[in-house]
Structures are given as C-alpha cells and as structure tokens.
C-alpha cells in the first residue's frame, strides 16, 4: 500500500507533466479507437451477411446484367426457397457529393422483404409498395438524414439508366437490430424495366443480380455449383456465392486503403510509446538520487522497479481509459456525420480490448529502460548524481 501511495505522490510532483502525458495518451488512444472502428465499419456488410442467402451474378464482372428469364429456372433448383432479384440503379440525387450519395436499388417488391427478414416494414406500407408503380421504400436512417416522409417525391437523375426519375416514398423500413443497413432506397424493378424499354434497350428484361434464399445453409456450396452449371454454356455465365463472400469481394476492392489504415493505427501506438517513455525516463532521471537513498535504507531493486513501472502503468491506464471513454461519443459523432458512408458505425468489443491491451503494453515497455538503469546503478553513483 505504501508503494501505491508513493507512486501517487510521485505523479503529483509534476502535475502539469503528468497531465500532459495523460492527455497525450488519451488523444492517441482515441485516434486508435476511431481508426479501428472505421476499419471494422468498412467490412460490416460481411458480418451482417446472412448464411441462408446466395448471390448469383454475372461471371465476368458484377456490372454485367443477367437475363430476367433465369428467374423461373432458379426457382426450380432444389433447395432454393425464394428467388429475389435486384439491379443497382445509382443515379444522382441533387449532386454528386458525399452527403447525397445513398444506395438506390431496383428490387422485386413481392419477395425482397421475404429474403431480407432483417428489414421490417409495416404491412400496409408493403402493400402500397407492391401496388404503386413508382413507389419507393427508404431506410429509417436515410429518411431521418434527408427528412423523407411518406408521400414525398425523390427526384433522381439517371446515369447508368438515363433520364429523369421521380420516386414517391410509400414506406419506411427499419432494421431488426443494429447491424441492419437502414440507409438504402428500394424501388420497383418493374418500373425500371418499363422505363428502360424506351430509353435503354440493353437494360430491358435484365437484372443485376439474383438473391437466392436457401432452405439449408449447409447446402450452399452444392446449390451454388448446381446453379452455375446450369448456365455454363450460355452467353451470360453466372457466379454464385454466399452473401458473405459477395460482400467480402467488395471490401477487398479497397484492401489497400484498409491495410494502410491498419498500419497507421499501429504507428499511433508507437507515438504513444514515445510520449510516455519520455516522461518516465525524465522522471526516473530526476529521482535517481532518491532511488539511491531508498536502496541505502534497505529497499531492493525490486521496489525501485515497482515504483517506476507502477507510475508508468498508472499514467498509461488513466490515459487509455480517458481515451477509450472519449472514443464512444467521438465515434457516434463521426458516424452521424457520414451516415450513408458507414451504415453501421459502432465501436466493436475487439477495439476496446485492443485499446486496453496496448495501453498496458505501452505502460510496461516505457518502464523497461529506466527500470533497468535504476535497478543496476551503484548506490554511490546514484547519490553522487546531480540534477
């Protein structure tokens, strides 16, 4: 207990320095937490993917559409419960800025909410969606961001599908839990198909990808093979994979950016280490005479090391805790600032564990050098030391 008190008293000797070090560590841990959260949020789609959904897309690249005629054949594949389909519409809402980007997808109103049970929509709104040709359904988060209400008209300029489009909001869906993406806009594929008959003939009776809901997730691999075998000799070959693999392929597209963010997050740990080690080394140097006195009184090197390491850990843990506590509100603010960029932006448990773990580690490493020096000094030299 006495040692603890001594550590505490030592901390207060240079209040400003201790405070600065704690603030420095807190800021760095905050940056670390934020960066890790960005990295995890990036691949959230992989986590959120359901095991019972398969995605069938064009084998060459996802930009090529598949014929609508595949639908009936896919429904006949044994083990497939429901077949749904979708097309990436994109388009421009207001302008091409970050804030006004959100996924705009043409879907099959009849099945989409069956294969995505994590999206919840009131029954009467779903009924209107199935009936109203130019109706659209938006996610709750998206609706809050842009102030969309039922009955509003969303004008979109087409880019892949040319022309001016107007969609009427007929429903707002919400996610079953926190991992569901509430930032998308769905509208009827029929409407898209009808309009492209006039303006974009290549897109007529074509869908972007099929979503297959299977009875038993364990059969996913064999069903994928069966499906792809069906079209191996047709002009539009398919590639079927689990939703998880499909999402993963999108995440890996930006792999280099993710990797560099991860590297930077470890550079931050290096910076914390420098700041803390600096403080501890300075403190130990100033107190070398006291350590010599302690040793003269009969305290062992073990006690001296305990004093130094204790102070180092104390500072790093306080800094780490403050930084971690700040991570939550800052991440919330960051997530709110880019709602559509990161549909789900939450601090993962692993991030918390890593932040605490690295704070501890840094606390220990920073103490190694001064501990070694103080433990091995000769008492006489220590007493002689000036300043």
């Amino acid at each position: 207990m006495k040692v603890l008190k001594l550590i505490y008293k030592n901390l207060l000797r240079h209040k400003l320095r201790s405070l600065l070090t704690i603030v420095g560590i807190a800021i760095a841990v905050l940056a670390f937490g934020l960066l890790r959260t960005v990295v995890t949020a990036w691949s959230y789609g992989v986590e959120a993917a359901s095991a019972d959904r398969l995605i069938t897309r064009h084998a060459v690249a996802f930009i090529f559409p598949l014929p609508y005629s595949y639908k009936g054949q896919l429904e006949d594949v044994s083990g497939v419960k429901t077949v749904s389909y979708a097309s990436w519409f994109q388009g421009i809402y207001k302008d091409q800025s970050f804030e006004n980007f959100f996924p705009r997808i043409a879907v099959d109103p009849e099945t989409i909410f069956d294969v995505y049970p994590e999206f919840i929509i009131p029954a009467d709104q779903l009924k209107t969606f199935k009936q109203q040709r130019n109706g659209c359904v938006v996610g709750k988060k998206l609706a809050e961001q842009h102030g969309f209400k039922i009955g509003d008209i969303i004008p979109v300029t087409g880019d892949i599908y040319p022309g001016n489009w107007e969609f009427t909001v007929v429903g707002i869906y919400s996610g079953k839990d926190k991992t569901a993406d509430e930032t998308q806009m769905f509208f009827s594929w029929e409407y898209l198909n009808e309009k492209s008959r006039q303006s974009a003939s290549w897109a007529t009776d074509q869908v972007g990808w099929y979503i297959l809901q299977v009875d038993n997730p364990n059969e996913a691999a064999s069903i994928s093979e069966t499906v792809d075998a069906l079209y191996v000799n047709s002009p539009a070959k398919t590639k079927t994979e689990t939703e998880k693999a499909f999402q993963q392929s999108f995440v890996s597209l930006s792999g280099a950016i993710i990797t560099s963010m991860e590297i930077v997050s470890y550079v931050i740990i290096g910076i914390i280490l420098m700041v803390l080690a600096n403080t501890i080394i300075m403190a130990a140097r100033e107190r070398i005479r006291e350590y010599a006195v302690l040793k003269t009184l009969g305290f062992t090197s073990f006690h001296v090391v305990g004093l130094i390491a204790g102070e180092s850990l104390f500072i790093s843990m306080i800094g780490g805790t403050v930084g971690l506590a700040l991570t939550f509100p800052v991440c919330k603010g960051f997530g709110d600032a880019f709602p559509t960029m990161f549909p789900v932006f939450a601090v993962q448990p692993m991030t918390i564990v890593l932040a605490i773990g690295f704070s501890l580690l840094v606390g220990v490493i920073a103490a190694i050098f001064p501990s070694y020096r103080s433990a091995n000094m000769k008492i006489v030299d220590g007493l002689r030391q000036i300043g």
Binding site: L35, V60, A61, F98, L253, I257, V275, N278, M282
Partner: protein, 406 residues
C-alpha cells in the same frame, strides 16, 4: 518616426542574437535520450502527414497525366464514368466530320471511339480479385495518347482476339505474361504485348480492338466514349457550341480529357485527404504534447541556469526566443527525418479501386513542392505550439527565485 521604427528593429535583432544557437543545440545533445524520443515521435507524425498528402497528390498526378491538354472526351450527359456512358456509331460519324478535329496524315480524323468494360482478375500474392478496365480502341489512333508506349511484344491485330496489357496490370495480377491467355467474355484472348502507361491511369488497363470487344459483349453499335484531338486547344468552346446546336448530339457532352479524369479521382482523393488529415491532426496533438513535455522538463531542469542568464543581463525576450528556437530545432529535426522517410515512399506503388470508376487504379506517392511546403509548415507549427508555453514559463521566471532553486 522612421528612425524610431528602425531603432526598435535593431534593438530587437540584438536581443534575439544574444543567446547563441549553439547553446540550444548543446542542450538538446545533453539530454540525448529525451531528445531522441521526442524527435522520433515528431518524425512518425510528420511521416504519416506527408505520406497522406503524397498519396492524394499521387492520384491527382496520375489523373492529370492520363489526360492531354488538347484532347476532348465526349460522353453521355451526367455519366460519371466511361462505363456508364453510351455514344452511338451514328453520333461518332457526325462528330468525326467536325472541322475542329485534327486529321491524321491519311486524312482520317485523329480520334478514337472507345468501349470500356470491366473484368475480374486475380491479384498476385492474395486471393483478392480486382476489377480491371478493358478498353477497346479504334486502331490507328495510338498517337492520340502519346504517354502510352509499347514496351514489350507487339500491338494487337485488329479483328483478332489479342490484347495488350498495362504495365501495372502486368506487375500486380496473376498469370499476365506475353503468350498467356485471359478470359474476357466467353473467349480466351492472347496477351501479345505490354504497354508502358507511365504515370497514367492507362497503365492499369487492358487494351484491344473496339469492334471485336463490342461484338463479344453484344453492345451492338454503342461505344462508351469518343476522344478526339483538337486542331487548336482554344477550339473547345466552339466544339461545345456546335454540339449543343446539333439535334442528334443532345444527350452528349464534351469535356477536356484532363478535367474528365481529374473529376473521376475527386471522390478518392477527397476521401484519402479527409480521413488522413483528420487522423494526423488528432495525433499531431500527441506530438505537440510530447514536445511540450520535453520543453517543460528542460525549462524546469535549467531553472538556475536561466536565473544566471537573467542575472548576466539577458532579457526575458531573449530567453523566450532561445527556448522557442530550441523547440523549433526539435520539431525541425524530427520533421526533416519524417520527410526523408516519407520520400522513400516514392518507390511504393499503391493500388486500389477507384470508386469513381469501380476499376483498379495504380498510383504512386508523389512528393511535390506543394507537399513539402505543407509538411514544413506543419512541423514548424508543431514546434511553435509545443514550445511556446514552456518558453513563456522560462521567460517569466523571477531572477532571485530562479537562482535560489536547487
């Protein structure tokens, strides 16, 4: 009045000069370990800061190099990339008669109607797939993009299933060697050459004959874009007006090639810049605090010394200046080390998906004078902010108390 001002300045200069810089340098040397740690911390922060700027500069350089000043690209209105655009063969026919277009020696328009599409290829050294742009071009218009040169093998034969690959694709993807085949659509295409695209986006593309790729992908008579060379750089406005008045070209718009490619990278560059700057600002606070701790300690350790200096007649201002200079020296050493480390990044190629086009784009870290300027500004500011408060403390010390301190 003038003389008063001049005298003041002279006095100021005298005071600043009074404590020699060698005093500061020796001080930094006396506390080597602390100095090293602080300098390393600053160096790391400056390294990341510079690397981020170099990266977004690199994207910009690549995009600017991809376009030529006197080339104009014509795409469908509001298309964000060539992939989404559509230009019909009839429209190409009309455009090629425009008098603003330069002619080749054979008297044909110096222009190319391109078809751009995407294929998936396996990246080297990982299981990841990358989206690679395949560009079908009009034959006989290689000179339109003088940045692109054939470095190995030969050009593709028009009308046959042959391709040439960009050097970045050659470096970064699996099984891309001359003589090997790549599946595009339903056919296997033979690689017959490697093109050196230099710093341009073309280095990340595969090139082949437009007509054959159009028939392979059932595109009928629809191209993606039409790129032409102007007779005269200033003819752009004339061309634009002419297009606006031509009924059959209403759904198209011309853009200067450089501006077009720059726009495509905006999202990427903005993202890298935004996130990078945000992060470096957060942890430049960490580095500033590190410098501050060092300087405070150095002031505290030298209380008697400062008292002595003051007793010798040095003014508060010179003390302030001396400590500020010491902080600046600290941050400059760290900053320069960081900048030197960052300059090695010039040898690294960064390859990722450009969200603007959804295809793979390789680019370098580019250390431009602008980047160096910002980095120097950044570390000097860190030094000033980190050193100012400690320097004020040193300057405000009372002579008697300072001399008495043990």
């Amino acid at each position: 009045m003038l003389f008063v001002g001049m005298r003041r300045r002279m006095v100021l200069i005298r005071f600043i000069m009074k404590i020699p810089i060698s005093y500061n340098i020796r001080n930094l040397w006396a506390r080597r370990l602390t100095t090293t740690l602080t300098v390393s911390g600053i160096a790391l922060v400056v390294f990341v800061f510079a690397a981020v700027l170099m990266l977004s500069q690199g994207i910009e350089d690549t995009m600017v190099a991809t376009g030529s000043r006197d080339n104009v690209i014509i795409i469908r209105k509001s298309s964000q990339s060539e992939m989404m655009s559509a230009v019909s063969r009839d429209q190409v026919g009309i455009l090629s008669t425009f008098s603003e277009v330069q002619s080749t020696q054979e008297g044909k328009p110096f222009a190319t109607a391109d078809v751009v599409t995407l294929i998936n290829l396996h990246k080297k050294g990982s299981n990841d797939m990358g989206n690679v742009s395949v560009r079908g071009i009009s034959t006989g218009a290689f000179g339109l993009r003088p940045q692109v040169k054939l470095s190995e093998g030969r050009w593709f034969q028009p009308g046959s299933y042959e391709i040439v690959v960009g050097n970045k694709i050659h470096d970064q993807f699996n099984a891309i060697e001359i003589g090997q085949s790549v599946q595009i659509g339903s056919k296997l295409w033979t690689i017959v050459g490697v093109i050196d695209g230099g710093k341009t986006g073309f280095a990340s593309e595969i090139w082949t004959d437009a007509d054959i790729i159009m028939s392979e992908f059932n595109r009928g008579t629809t191209f993606s874009s039409y790129t032409l060379k102007l007779k005269n750089e200033q003819d752009f406005e004339a061309l634009k007006t002419k297009m606006e008045t031509e009924q059959r070209l209403q759904d198209l718009e011309p853009k200067r090639e450089q501006e077009f490619y720059l726009e495509q990278s905006k999202f990427m560059a903005g993202f890298i810049n935004g996130l990078g700057i945000f992060i470096t600002i957060i942890f430049s606070f960490g580095a500033m605090i590190g410098a501050m701790i060092t300087m405070y300690a150095s002031v505290a350790n030298r209380t008697v010394e400062i008292g002595t200096l003051r007793a010798l007649g040095f003014r508060r201002r010179s003390i302030l200046m001396a400590f500020l200079l010491e902080a600046l020296a600290l941050s400059s050493i760290g900053g320069i080390i960081g900048l030197i480390l960052a300059s090695f990044m010039e040898f690294v190629t960064f390859s990722t998906t450009n969200f603007g086009t959804f295809s793979e784009l390789a680019f370098g870290f580019s250390l431009s004078p602008r980047v160096v300027g910002w980095t120097v500004f950044f570390f000097l500011i860190m030094g000033i902010f980190g050193g100012f408060l400690p320097a004020v403390r040193a300057a405000r010390m009372n002579i008697i108390n300072a001399l008495r301190a043990s």
